[in-house]
Amino acid sequence: MATESVVHTAMTLHDHLPVLQILVPFIAAPLTVFIGSRALAWPISFASSVVSLVIAWLLLMQVIDGDVISYHIGGWAPPLGIEYRVDAANAFVVFLVAAISVVVLPFAKVSVAYEVPLRDHALFYSAYLLCFSGLMGVAITGDAFNVFVFLEISSLSTYVLIAAGAGKDKRALTAAYDYLIMGTIGATFFVIGIGFLYMGTGTLNMADLAQRIAAQGGNRTIEAGFAFILVGIGLKLAFYPLHLWLPNAYTYAPSAVSAFLAATATKVAVYVLLRFCFTVFGPAFGFEVLTLQYVVLPLAVVAMFASSFVAVFQSDFKRMLAYSSIAQIGYMLLGIAFLTETGVTAAIVHLFNHGITKAALFMAVGAYVLRAGDTFYNDIAGLGRKMPWTSAAVVIGGLSLIGVPGTAGFISKWVLVQAAFEKGWWPVALLIVASSLLAVIYVWRVVEVLYLQPAREDSTATEAPLTMLVPIWVAALACIWFGIDTDTTLGAARTAAAGLLNLPGQ
Amino acid sequence: MDQNHDDTSAFARVLLLIGSPRAFAVLVVLCAGLFVADFLYHKHPYFEVEEVPGFYAIYGLAVVAVFLVAARLLGGVLKRPEDYYAPNDVASEPYPDESRADG
């Protein structure tokens, strides 16, 4: 399968899929601005998302058995040229991002029309497409510096997208500003880390980096590079206690943006962490094992509990979800910190399952914002009867968030607990279960508010429009589907984990 | 409940004969006939006891008699007022009216 040895001439369109994956939305972004039509902005975005999804599917199918596609930009062979390297792990992530985009965009049409001023629509979708292509670029590239470039593309557009919430609440501006500062620091740390690596090895290609680092072993430069990269990425993935930008950013961003970012942005960052921890460096290095087990693991556990407690006491549904996201990222980091195949599988599968769960919930938030104006518990009280379909989806998403058997959330927690047992760390397994109990509490609070409390007397809420309900339910049903059909997700995650850990493919 | 269905149909009158004294006479004759019939055919029994003439007749009669006596005795012991388990049981509840739905 690998095009590695194939001469660059006479390639078919099919061989260009890796770059088309990025180029389609990347070209569509300026196109929306040049055309400048508010009416055309959405269709262009949607069309390019659909094309991306198709490409992502084709790529995933090519690599799902453990193959690797190496694509050389402009025909320049790595390590000199930039390489796009598609394997099961990042094809899976790219597919998740594209799928979420295709689901969220139909929802965004109404939601954005309500929450973002009309004159900004063309620019909004342009920023959205940039963010979208940036996130996929981060995942697909095999070049460390290129990761930084795409990270910046996605981050800069994300700041704009969050600030777009200012039409409804001015605090979106400070949230975006905070995130700008933090994100920039994160990116700077990241690029400093890469600088260290370049200094230590003289290359930027990840595969090449991996070889050289393995060959020469660790030294202070490499170790410093690792620490900087870890902190830099930690900021992007809201690694506790570097999460402080996240609650405000998710709360004040337009609902569609929250849904998209919650399901994709942090997940892509988790992927980058996986890539650096397992491909570039490797569990063979003592410093990595030490850092992951004595810094990341305890903080992941703290995240699971502290953020869940905060979520329990929240009185705003959207903000509660933001804190729950931080706790859920704790699970993924925990999986990575196990440094075993099962642990990494759990992290990857949770990355996917949590993505669809949060997409469903944040989209439901958008529906409540549209109909009730806000998502404070006293504003959405009693909406279970007035918006039965939306609320039923919230219940399904909530069950998946808790990890009830039959939902996607159960599968990932199950694998995670298995990973903990494999290592013999049963106290950690107990902690995972205990923190799930906290999820029961904060989900129950929402269910209670929706179904058991009387609606506000001045409430005029009616069921959300179909363009919102269909995406919400697609995501909600996906939560159930992937809770029952575990072959697809678990299989892909296992292949990805085996690939990352350099084990023989399944 | 509804009293307006008093016109007993011819078909019903035929069925009512089952409960009449004449039917009892028929039953007695039938029993006698069957008992006699037992002597008229060749048996191929599984067990010796079957070869006793009229075994099934006698055994049937005796078994029912024994069970009736047992039921009478035990009935006195086991019967309780209808609301014994109330309110956790349906015995003392009226059946919710379903027939209204059908009319």
């Binding site: 290095f285 410093f287 990595e288 | 509804d2 019903a12 039953l27 599984y46 055994y59 069970f67």
Partner: protein, 565 residues
């Protein structure tokens, strides 16, 4: 993978889609298609195992089709069809969905090729069927339903633990012939026994079945117990212990059946009695006995649902099924009375009716194998059955002392359903050969021998004579409104009292503990709220500088740790 449409899927799809159909008549009409399509799938299904799916690493065999499974699945389909006709008038969507899920689960369980699939459908029947009891909507029905659910789910849990142990012992989950001996097989045996109403495990049945709705009782009488019979026949055929269990089951319900006042409860006891015959047959084992079990299971489904339908029609029209409140209804419900008599004649095994052909196979099997005690007991039970079900039910409802009630004849759909059931009872009785061709094993068996006809007629006629004489001399048990105690008294009364006493003592100690704990819990929550609540430092929006400070701290920690290595 899935190469055939499993029949249960048709039922589950029907249960999912039919509630969305507007219009009660259209819904009822469409619901009839479900067993028809399901039955056609079963009829055309090739034998062997199909549809092996993998769920969380376990291979589930959704379909293992052979002649034993097929005949149970077919009669379940037919009975489901009849009961849906009977329930044509019901507007309640819950009952429709429950009926379909229940029938579908039972059929799914019959085709289950492994213990896990069996368990899933086993619990499916438990959970779906309880709604037929709750649909009655009274407080008593709610509590009865809960008791029923607990016992049924417990049966499933025991089955699952048995399956788990079985897997550890043998490394296989296949559902095939087992031998009693290990804890695993005992657990599975007991799980089957609960659903099959073994003595002392039976009391859920007369408790629950008469508490369901009119249509619900009919549906309940069909599936659960016959599914258990199928499971026993599949797993424990030839287990001698079953013969003695079956004998007890055939005999003891006679007494309760004679005493009981509620006619649906009488039928429930007689259902246990008939299960006794089937269980004896399974215990005997061998081709003739298993053929007899399959055949008699079919006919007992037919006549038992027919009798439940007839008594149900009376309950539907008069609002009561108490023998003490009924009598003489033949005057205004002659057709219902006629169908009830067909059911009676069938359960009494009168020649030309189904049981005459089917019951005798089990008796013959007992004869061939020389189980004289069991044979005598079964003949006794057969004679008693003539009286306590065959005569008592029609006598109390339709003949006997005139209660003065003149309810309207049953609605057309009920009459049609009873007609279908009656036709099947007579059809099998008149043409047993055609029916025997469907049985699990090929056999030569002649039903209509002179000896068999005459001896059976003797048994029936003299049993009836005994009843009539007892009535003449006033020796029948009196029909009064009452509750008759059964073994459930132990847990409904004694246990409740004991727990009540314990609870009182505990509650005093508890109250003190709770007060202390509440105060403590309040303090904990308050503290958590102070540290994690919306106004706490954890949840506040932090100034940008403070966020950056965390970055610096973390970087320092990480650098330190990495350098340490």
């Amino acid at each position: 993978m899935v190469e055939l449409v499993p029949p249960f899927l048709v039922y589950f799809l029907g249960a999912a889609l039919l509630p969305l159909v507007p219009g009660a008549a259209l819904r009822s009409a469409l619901s009839l298609l479900v067993p028809v399509i399901g039955g056609w799938l079963i009829w055309t299904m090739p034998t062997g195992t199909h549809d092996v799916v993998t769920l969380m690493g376990v291979d589930l065999t959704l379909i293992r089709n052979d002649r034993l499974a097929a005949i149970f699945a077919l009669v379940f389909s037919f009975a489901a069809f009849v009961s849906l006709v009977y329930a044509w008038h019901v507007r309640d969507r819950v009952q429709l969905v429950a009926t379909l899920l229940y029938s579908g689960s039972a059929i799914g369980a019959v085709f289950a090729g492994d213990l896990i699939t069996l368990f899933l459908f086993w619990e499916g029947t438990a959970i779906a069927s309880v709604f037929l009891i709750w649909a009655r909507g009274t407080e008593g029905a709610y509590h009865t339903g809960l008791r029923y659910l607990v016992i049924q789910v417990a049966s499933g849990v025991i089955l699952l633990s048995g399956a788990a142990l079985f897997w550890r012992e043998t490394g296989s989950l296949a559902f095939d012939q087992m031998t009693l001996g290990s804890p695993a097989t005992w657990l599975i045996f007991i799980a089957f026994g609960i659903k099959c109403a073994f003595p002392l495990l039976h009391s859920w049945l007369p408790d629950a079945y008469p508490s369901a709705t009119v249509t619900g009782s009919v549906v309940l009488s069909i599936f659960t117990t016959k599914l258990a019979v199928y499971a026993l026949a599949r797993g424990f055929a030839g287990t001698e212990l079953l013969i003695w269990i079956g004998v007890v089951m055939a005999l003891f319900p006679v007494i309760w059946g004679l005493i009981e006042n509620d006619l649906r409860r009488v039928l429930a006891y007689s259902l246990i009695g008939q299960l006794g015959f089937l269980v004896v047959g399974i215990g005997i084992g061998g081709e003739l006995a298993i053929n007899g079990v399959a055949a008699h299971a079919v006919s007992s489904i037919l006549y038992k649902s027919l009798l439940f339908m007839a008594v149900g029609a009376v309950l539907f029209r008069t609002g009561t099924a108490r023998a003490s409140d009924l009598g003489g209804l033949v005057r205004s419900m002659p057709l219902t009375a006629l169908f009830c008599l067909v059911g009676s004649a069938t359960i009494a095994a009168v020649p030309l009716f189904a049981s005459f052909a089917t019951k005798s196979m089990i008796l013959s099997a007992a004869g061939y194998k020389g189980y004289e005690g069991a044979w005598l007991a079964l003949v006794a039970a057969a004679g008693a059955t003539v009286v306590y079900t065959g005569v008592k039910v029609p006598y109390c409802a339709f003949f006997g002392a005139d209660s003065g009630r003149r309810p309207a004849e049953a609605p057309w759909n009920m009459l049609l359903a009873m007609g279908l059931g009656s036709a099947a009872c007579i059809g099998i009785g008149v043409f047993p050969g055609a029916f025997f061709a469907l049985l699990p094993y090929p056999m030569e068996y002649d039903v209509y021998t002179v000896a068999h006809v005459i001896t059976q007629l003797q048994l029936v006629a003299f049993a009836v004579l005994a009843f009539v004489l007892a009535r003449r001399f006033g020796y029948l048990p009196t029909e009064t409104r009452s509750v008759v105690l059964d073994s459930d008294w132990l847990y409904r009364r004694v246990l409740a009292r004991v727990i009540g006493g314990l609870a009182q003592g505990m509650s005093i100690a508890w109250a003190g503990g709770v007060r202390f704990q509440e105060a403590w819990l309040n303090r904990v929550i308050l503290r958590l709220y102070r540290s994690h609540g919306p106004a706490s430092r954890m949840a506040q929006s932090w100034p940008t500088g403070a966020m950056v400070q965390w970055v610096a701290i973390l970087l320092a920690v990480m650098l330190f740790v990495t350098f340490l290595a």
